[in-house]
Structure formats: structure tokens, C-alpha cells
Symmetry: C2
């Protein structure tokens, strides 16, 4: 559905607090560099949107969940900058991250006569960001786009790296592009409407940046977890900033994902097996990653890289973040099922399954691991009394 912004009978935007920029992180990619602006009250402030590429039209792309909360406010703030501010509202959810839904964006752009300078605004979580970014990469062979992530996961993860994609029936994120936004605006106030479970899932990706890169961040999260879970803006601002900085440092060395970037997948190999084994959507991605990090920590311990105490510490933090730390059993021959799912996940790179492992200094690398050792870790981490995680460390 495409509509012109601010229909006459729409509710007025909520009165805005004064916009406060708390941090700006610059992603340095030469000619494609862009800033991530982190603060509160940014969405409603016309000043937030100054200095973007000029165009006859802006198109806000959002979904049925986010639109009623924030679309009118964003459109109103864009109005001083663009002669036409349009919006297209997509159905919500990963199920709709597909070609027919992507095509709704193209239908809206072409139906409204949007030219090749049109600026797209991705207002929503990771799915909206991925789809809007891919639409921007392809529309008339490329138009500028701005990320306005409204979930913690999107703010700390998908706003850096330039990965855009849609799913294909035969695989997730199989059709896409590396395409950078011209700006990312993280309004921490939008996290206020995020359901608890989704917020916690986002915390998993914040915690991840500690083990793979920054022991100091891990200390800080432990000390400030209560503030984070209370959604204190200053604490959130620090967490989003450090996450973006670390991801940017990794991505900056490996924009096209040839090697180093894989360390961002700490916990993800186990996590993907959990998601796929239970059926996508049963656990949130961040929940599976949280539990996957516990498993990856166990694996790192068995490889002699971290102490048992470190495994316990990371497990307690993940639990305190409201995330699961005990892996689900997926089948009677549980370890074999996990291994099978992980092999499919990694089939793109033939041979042994490689895992991201860490040490206690925040150094991560990718390491092939024998199946037998992985199977031991799986059995140690899965939910059954006779082989609990605690008894193995």
C-alpha cells in the first residue's frame, strides 16, 4: 500500500522531545563512507534529516507493525526537505522477506513516478533494512537510502556492513547486494516500544562484541546490564556505539566478507542449527545466538582457549540478559542432527565445519573442529540433567 504522507485525517505527530545526538560513529569506506547518528528524539526532528542527497521524492519503507508507531512522525520530519514524502507499508515478518514483497516497493516507486534520485528510508528492523537496502541497490540501478533502525538488533548489527538481501525458497539471504546507506539514524527512543523478548534478543548481539573483540565491553555490559534492560538512553547509546565501532572495524578490513568478517558469526553456527532444527521463528535469532555463544564458549574451552570460569561467566551474563543458555534437543540422535544442520549451513565452503572460537583477551578466529569434539559440546550443552552445561566446566 502506498500513500501520500500526512493525510488530512491522520493523528498529529506526538510532541517531540528535543533531539539529542549522543554519539556519531563514522563508517570509513572511502567514497561510500557514512555516519551512524545515535541519540534520542532524532526521528521527529527535521534537523536530523538535513544534508542528505536532494531529490524530488522521499519514500519511507516500513511495515504494518512500525507504521502506526513512527511513520507519520518520520514523514512529518522529512517534509521540509523533500517536495514529496511517500510511504509504502509492507507486511511484517521474515516470511515476507521475498520477491513479491520487494516488488511492492518497486510498484510504489514506479507507480508514483519516482526518479533515479529518490531517497529511500528504511524504517523498521532488520528485515525492513535488508529489503529497503536491496530495493535501493536495484531501483534504476541504484538510488540512495537511509537506515532508520527501530530495533536493538538492527541498530547494533544490520546498520553496519552494507549487506542487503531477500530470501529465496531454497535459501535465506541468497539474493542481495553489498550496498551502503548514506546515513544511519539510531533513535534510542524507538527502542521503548520494543517487546521485552525482542529487546533481549538484540542484547545477544551486543554481548557478542565482547568475546570477539573487547574484554572491556564485556566488563561494562556486566556492570550495566540492569540499566540496559531498563532501556536507559545513555547506557543504550554506549552499547550501540561500541557495537557499531567494533563491527565497523571488522567490516572495514573485509567489506566483501572474504575472511575476517566471519568472526562476527560467533555463536551463529550453533545458533543457526537451533533455528533450523526447531523451525525458523520458534526461537528468535538473538535467542539462538545467545545459546549458540554458550556452546561456542564451551568449544573454546575444550580447545584450551578459555577457562571454565570464563564459560560460566559468559553463560551467567547471557542468562541475566533474559536469554536461553540450554540448547534444545533436536532429535534422538541429537548430536548427529546438529552436525547435519551445521554442515548444510556451511555447505558453501566444502570440507570440515569451521567455528568461531575466542580467547579471554577478546581475540577470535575461525577454526576447523573434529565432529567428535563438536558432538561432545552439543551433548554437554543440551537440556537434559545427566549432561548439563554446569557439570562439564
Amino acid at each position: 500500500m502506498t500513500t501520500a504522507a500526512r493525510p488530512t485525517n491522520a493523528p498529529l505527530p506526538a510532541p517531540a522531545e528535543a533531539p539529542t545526538v549522543l554519539h556519531t560513529v563514522t563508517i570509513d569506506l572511502g567514497a561510500r563512507s557514512y555516519p551512524i547518528v545515535i541519540g534520542t528524539g532524532l526521528l521527529d526532528a527535521p534537523s536530523t534529516w538535513a544534508g542528505l542527497p536532494r531529490a524530488a521524492s522521499a519514500m519511507v519503507v516500513t511495515n504494518t507493525t512500525v507504521a502506526p508507531l513512527y511513520a507519520a512522525r518520520l514523514c512529518a520530519a522529512l517534509q521540509p526537505h523533500y517536495p514529496r514524502v511517500l510511504q509504502v507499508v509492507l507486511p511484517d515478518g521474515e516470511d515476507h522477506k521475498d520477491w513479491p514483497t520487494l516488488n511492492l516497493i518497486f510498484d510504489a516507486l514506479l507507480g508514483q513516478g519516482c526518479d533515479r534520485k529518490t531517497v529511500l528510508f528504511a524504517l523498521g528492523g532488520g528485515v525492513i533494512g535488508d529489503m529497503t537496502g536491496f530495493a535501493a541497490a536495484c531501483y534504476m540501478r541504484g538510488v540512495p537510502f537511509v537506515q532508520v533502525p527501530t530495533t536493538l538488533l538492527a541498530q547494533v548489527d544490520s546498520s553496519v556492513g552494507g549487506k542487503t538481501a531477500i530470501n529465496h525458497p531454497l535459501g535465506k539471504n541468497m539474493i542481495g547486494a553489498f550496498y551502503q546507506p548514506v546515513r544511519v539514524v539510531c533513535d534510542l527512543a524507538t527502542l521503548g516500544t520494543l517487546p521485552e523478548r525482542e529487546f533481549n534478543a538484540g542484547l545477544a548481539e551486543v554481548i557478542k562484541y565482547g568475546p570477539i573483540a573487547d574484554p572491556g565491553l564485556l566488563d561494562w555490559i556486566e556492570a550495566n546490564l540492569a540499566r540496559l534492560r531498563a532501556r536507559d538512553p545513555a547506557a543504550l547509546a554506549h552499547a550501540v556505539r561500541r557495537s557499531c565501532e567494533i563491527k565497523a572495524a571488522v567490516v572495514g578490513q573485509d567489506e566483501r566478507e572474504s575472511g575476517l568478517r566471519a568472526i562476527l558469526n560467533f555463536g551463529h553456527t550453533f545458533g543457526h542449527a537451533i533455528e533450523a532444527g526447531l523451525g525458523y521463528g520458534r526461537w528468535l535469532h538473538g535467542e539462538a545466538v545467545g545459546c549458540g555463544m554458550v556452546m561456542a564458549a564451551h568449544l573454546s574451552h575444550r580447545l584450551g582457549r578459555v577457562s571454565a570460569a570464563y564459560v560460566q561467566r559468559l553463560t551467567r551474563l547471557i542468562e541475566a540478559a533474559g536469554l536461553p543458555t540450554r540448547a534444545p534437543r533436536l532429535a534422538d540422535d541429537n548430536a548427529a542432527r546438529y552436525l547435519g544442520l551445521m554442515r548444510v549451513d556451511k555447505k558453501a565452503e566444502a570440507g570440515a565445519i569451521r567455528f568461531v572460537v575466542v580467547d579471554e583477551l577478546g581475540r577470535a578466529d575461525l577454526c576447523p573442529v573434529p565432529d567428535a569434539l563438536v558432538a561432545e559440546v552439543i551433548e554437554a550443552c543440551c537440556a537434559q540433567p545427566q549432561a548439563s552445561a554446569a557439570s562439564t566446566v
Copy 2:
């Protein structure tokens, strides 16, 4: 339809002549530079395909017209370089330059478990090149691809510039990417199977490079037109080489089509009006461009840039190439209909219609022209005795 190459009951490839490289043009785009190799007998020679990116799989994308002629031969020549050589055969024609057909490529790649290093080979004309290039740009966010153009138009036009796209029901080439091949191989022998009418349509784009950039090329085409139409390899090699060199020089200065590149559209504004007014497919694109160049030459004359003799000379050459030089009447209020169609074609850039005009030294530029003057040119060029082209110059 996807099939493994060289099924046991397939006919053996035709015995190949010795491969002869006549010219190599390097397209200089920094890290994305690539060579255009022009010669005869290239398709069948394994040596043609040496030095490409290594991969577990090669996927030849072609169509139902080209596949029976050349697919088995290309697959056989690729066999020494790739453990698996696969092919996918698309329905032929511009009507199929759409998402469902593009998706057949993704289905084939994913169905065969092709990884992110897979190399795609576009074997066919411009539609196959555009679709394969766009599939390569998007599959797993980008895999390498090789252009193997088998039409004159594709060899001189679409193999340079990195434009890839599919059509949307609301507009042609609206969804695409700028994405460069790793190599282009123009085997002039494949032009031997091209129907006369399609070959002549390709000549229109060759002729175009004279007026916009190189008076010497125009002289050379006039002197060698009979050799070209007889498909003499040495003459074709020169024509393809100079066309690619000129296009490369223009594109090299303006890869993202911000301005200069528009001069490549000499004759195309009038030509698109003819194609759209008659209904796409009635005239071939090159036929419409041929006639469009006659009209653009008249316009250049009325703007004082070329002599009447130059208009006659270009008209005679286009006619001698077997192309139409008299524009079709599109409606009773013929000029208004042309103007309306040209305005739609250019709606992306609001305001006056701008035309590519030339002088006799081979310099082209983009120039806004008053409707009244354009209308005079249309009436002078359209097929009716009382206002023939000849009587106005």
C-alpha cells in the same frame, strides 16, 4: 531447465577452427578492469577460458535459440577448467526479461548447490547479457560473470558499460545494477548464424560511434560496408574493436551515467518513440535507432551543427546498411504523438526534452530543443510524399 553439460547422447561439438585473437580491448576501471577479447574460433578453444576465477562450478546461461547452436560447444571448452559445467536455458526474447525468468537462474544455481564462487557465462544477445549480469550481481551478493555475446548488437553495445537489468511491468530496465564482467569474449564466428535483419540492426549501433566520436570510423564504415555485410571477420573485428574502444572511453569517464554517457543515446530518443509508438518488437531496436539517427541528424542540421550534405551522407549509409530511414507515422497528430512519447521516455529528468546532437567533427552533446523545432523535424522525416526527408535538405 537445468542440465549437466555433455549428456552422453548429445551431438559432438563441431570441429573447431584454430582460435585466432584479432584484438583485445582493455576496459580500464581500476580494480574492476576487464578485457574484451575479439576473434574467431574462440568459443570452442579451452585456451580462451584460461585464467578466469577458479570455482567448483561454471553455469552457462543461454536461451532456447542460442543453446542448440553453441551451448554444447562452450560447455565442452569450459570442461577442462571447472569440475562441474552446468547450463540453464531461458525462453528467448525481451518479453521474458522479467523476474520469473531471472528466478530460473537462481533456481538452477541453488538447486545445484552452486556456491558464492560460481562463475556465470552469459551466452547470447543483449537480453541474456543483461539478465545474467544482474543474476551475477545478486546471487549470494555477487559472483563473477563472463559475457559471451553472440549478436553484433551485444558485441558492440552491451558488452561495455556494466549495465544489467530486468524489466518491470511499469518500465523497461527499471530493476538492475551496474556490475562489470570479468571478461568479454566476442567470437565473430557466432555472427555467422545471425539473421540478416538482426545483423543490420547491430550495424546501426556501430554506425552510431562515427557521428558521436570518430569521423574516421564513419569514413571506414562507408568504405567497408560490403565487407561488413558479408561478415568478413577482419572487417567485423575492426568494427567491434572501435565500437568497444569508443564506448569504453565514454563510459570510463562516466561509469554511473551522470552526464557524458548520454551521448551514447544518439538517435535513441527518436528511436524509442518509434519503438513505443509502433508497439515494442514491430521494429527492432537497431532499426529504430537507425531511423532515429537520421532524425537526429536533421535536428543537428536545423541547429546549424552539420551541413545538409552530412545529413544526406549519413542517411545513405544507414539505408545501405539495410536499415529504415523514413520514420513511421504514429497518429493523425503525428508530431504531437512523437513528442508525447519522447516526454514519457525522459520523464526521469523533468523539463524540456533534451536531444543528443552532433557536429561533423564527431563531437556530440546534449541539448534542450524547443518542441516546435522537433515537430518540424518529425514531419520532415516521416513517411509521406509531401514532406519527404530529401526535400528538406
